[in-house]
């Protein structure tokens, strides 16, 4: 098989893969994103549990994650039905 033909075949396969993935994902993008958000919400609770008085055996490790997740903290507590930050010593809004 010549190089140009191989290149064409590779391009064609990449296209096939792209379109089949689109067909697979397109109808459920929203539902999957919502499911992921629900899982992330639970994870947020785990990471910030110690600060809210819930003992967390993995606190030593999750402490390290707190600065990384801080950006999402405001959206998270609002989504959980708390207008203001639930943490006294730690106000975000």
């Amino acid at each position: 098989m010549s190089d140009s033909r191989r290149e064409r075949l590779r391009h064609w396969l990449a296209q096939l893969r792209h379109y089949s993935e689109e067909v697979y994902a397109a109808p459920y993008r929203g539902a999957v994103a919502r499911a992921r958000r629900d899982e992330d919400d639970l994870f947020m609770l785990l990471v910030f549990s110690e600060l809210m008085g819930v003992p967390n055996p993995a606190a030593y490790y999750t402490l390290e994650l707190q600065p990384l997740l801080l950006e999402r903290f405001h959206d998270w507590h609002r989504r959980m039905g708390m207008e203001r930050s639930p943490l006294d010593h730690f106000r975000c809004c």
Partner: protein, 559 residues
């Protein structure tokens, strides 16, 4: 008459509809504008609003709208002869369904991709919106009950399909995991999935699993209905990526393969139409063709369900407004083609007229069985596949379509119950499990309430399901009409289908009302009355909304 000629006439008619009529309505009626900024661009977020290639979008729209219903409806309607069913499918697809589906996408795209339900509230009025919610709930209730009865009947009649149908769920679960964990690329997974499914179909006839007629005091059929709802209840609680998404994908592939096999078999076998053109000797108890034909075939001619898909997900992903013609109208043509295949299988797939009459001994019974047997006969003669394998293939195809619809339908019904829990402050009802149990319970009540203790008579509600579905389509057409009046565009292309649908729906409900009353089936009588009241309200809403709009237009000629 040769089935191939009928096939060419049908497909040719629908193609003509797409190339001529859809071009006309896209330009003159909807005024689709390639420069209009669609919601997919205006609110692009990578999740719900994503501009999508029109072929991809068509694939997903078509596979979402085409399922078991365009097979079941025509298969039942052939009892009046093949010509009425054929004409309604072709004319319905060209002048009703295509117009309605493309219109639902257009209406939603022009209103920030909102669903038809919420559009009804804005465009027509609050009462119409409440009506819309009630009709959606009834449609879901009936579709779940009726499809459980269809699958249970298939499992009883074709035990060779039991292993592949349930095996397909295992295949879907594995595919879901493989894709979710990105272990193999999707084209390879698709190929493996299809091979696994067809291997199961080939194995099926060797390992039939017949359900005994009686199991511990419960009939086999009723037990299947219970098992199916148990499955659907669990499936609807699972995350979508785990089962629903891969199942839908496999079904989409199945749909294309099934259509190619069926049409290929018709061309290669070129059978004659065995069923009569007009059946003069319909079995006793068969209702009159007008109006029942127009509600027996809903999906495949026009169906309100499409409006929900069109305005729910499709409109959020439309790249250019002009794509609405291809995605919506051609999606309807695809479904019409599936309905046509069902007509060809049920009218030409028998060796003699006596065989055909043996199958169609009572209205509403054996329709799906006729599709499986007739289709298998055609595939055997055309492609040479053994009849047992061919009938397993078609049973699996129908059962998988119906099963996925049940799974989605129960999920949507659960959301409705959860929403009610929220509105009426019932904390327990807001939780997924109790809401699912309520959804399953209401469907079981309908399946057994309508069909007796063994659940086998549940197909009586098929025409009632059709009427409710048409009512939903009527509400969408009403939204389209009001929008067209506001834009000073010609409305007769939407108004004529709307009036026709409402008239046929109300007539069909009255005919069935009489039937249920004389049979003493008071459960369905009550349901019929509820749908009838809803239809009359829709008719009043339509008349008053259109009159109001016209008056407003006359008062402000410059607007």
């Amino acid at each position: 008459m040769s089935a191939t000629i009928l096939m060419l006439l049908g497909l040719g008619g629908m193609a003509l509809g797409y190339f001529v009529y859809s071009a006309f309505i896209a330009r003159r009626v909807y005024g689709l504008d390639p420069d209009f900024e669609t919601p997919a661009h205006a609110y692009e977020d990578g999740v719900d609003y994503v501009p999508t290639n029109r072929f991809v979008l068509w694939g997903h729209h078509f596979t979402s709208v085409a399922g078991a219903a365009p097979i079941v409806g025509p298969a039942i309607a052939v009892i009046w002869g093949w010509l009425p069913a054929f004409l309604w499918v072709v004319i319905g697809t060209v002048f009703f369904a295509g117009m309605h589906d493309a219109g639902a996408i257009w209406a939603s795209v022009r209103n920030r991709a909102r669903s038809v339900g919420s559009l009804t509230g804005d465009v027509v009025g609050k009462r119409a919106r409440s009506l819309f919610m009630i009709v959606i709930f009834l449609v879901l209730l009936m579709v779940n009950a009726v499809f459980a009865v269809v699958i249970a009947g298939l499992m009883m009649d074709f035990p060779s399909a039991v292993v592949p149908v349930w095996g397909a769920i295992a295949v879907a679960l594995v595919i879901g995991q493989l894709i979710y964990r990105r272990m193999i690329s999707l084209p390879v997974v698709s190929l493996l999935g299809v091979i696994a499914l067809y291997a199961l179909i080939a194995v099926g006839p060797a390992v039939p699993l017949p359900m005994p007629d009686q199991v511990g005091g419960v009939s086999g059929n009723a037990l299947w209905v219970l098992i199916l709802f148990g499955y659907a209840g669990i499936a609807s609680l699972l995350p979508v990526w785990m089962l629903l998404q891969p199942r839908d994908y496999i079904n989409g592939l199945q749909l294309f393969i099934g259509l190619i096999i069926l049409y290929g078999a018709v061309v290669l076998a070129n059978p004659a139409m065995v069923a009569p053109m007009f059946n003069q000797q319909v079995p006793e108890g068969t209702p009159s063709l007008i109006p029942l034909l127009f509600v027996t075939i809903a999906c495949g001619a026009i169906s309100g369900f499409h409006g929900l898909v069109a305005s729910g997900t499709t409109s959020k992903q439309l790249n250019r407004e002009t794509d609405a013609r291809f995605v919506g109208y051609f999606g309807a043509v695809g479904e019409g083609a599936l309905a046509l295949a069902a007509i060809l299988a049920t009218a030409a797939g028998f060796a003699s007229l006596a065989d055909w009459r043996g199958m169609y001994q009572a209205f509403g019974e054996n329709g799906v069985g006729a599709f499986v047997q007739g289709g298998a006969y055609l595939i055997q003669n055309g492609i040479g596949l053994p009849e047992a394998t061919a009938s397993t293939l078609l049973t699996v195809m129908t059962a998988l379509f119906a099963g996925t619809t049940m799974d989605t339908g129960l999920r949507l019904q659960r959301y409705i119950f959860q929403e009610w829990g929220d509105i009426y402050r019932l904390e327990w009802m807001k939780k997924p499990l109790p809401a699912t149990l309520l959804a399953v319970g209401s469907c079981l009540l309908l399946a057994f309430g309508a069909g007796g203790a063994d659940g086998s008579g549940g197909m009586i509600i098929w025409p009632l399901f059709g009427t409710t579905n048409q009512l939903l389509a009527g509400l969408t057409l009403l939204v389209i009409c009001v929008m067209l009046v506001r834009r000073r565009r010609p409305i007769r292309y939407a108004l004529v289908p709307l009036c026709f649908l409402l008239a046929m729906t109300i007539l069909a409900l009255l005919t069935q009302l009489k039937g249920f009353y004389s049979e003493g089936n008071y459960f369905l009588l009550c349901l019929d009355i509820v749908v009838l009241i809803a239809s009359i309200f829709v008719a009043f809403e339509a008349a008053s909304a259109l009159r109001r709009q016209r008056r407003e237009m006359l008062e402000s000629p410059e607007a």
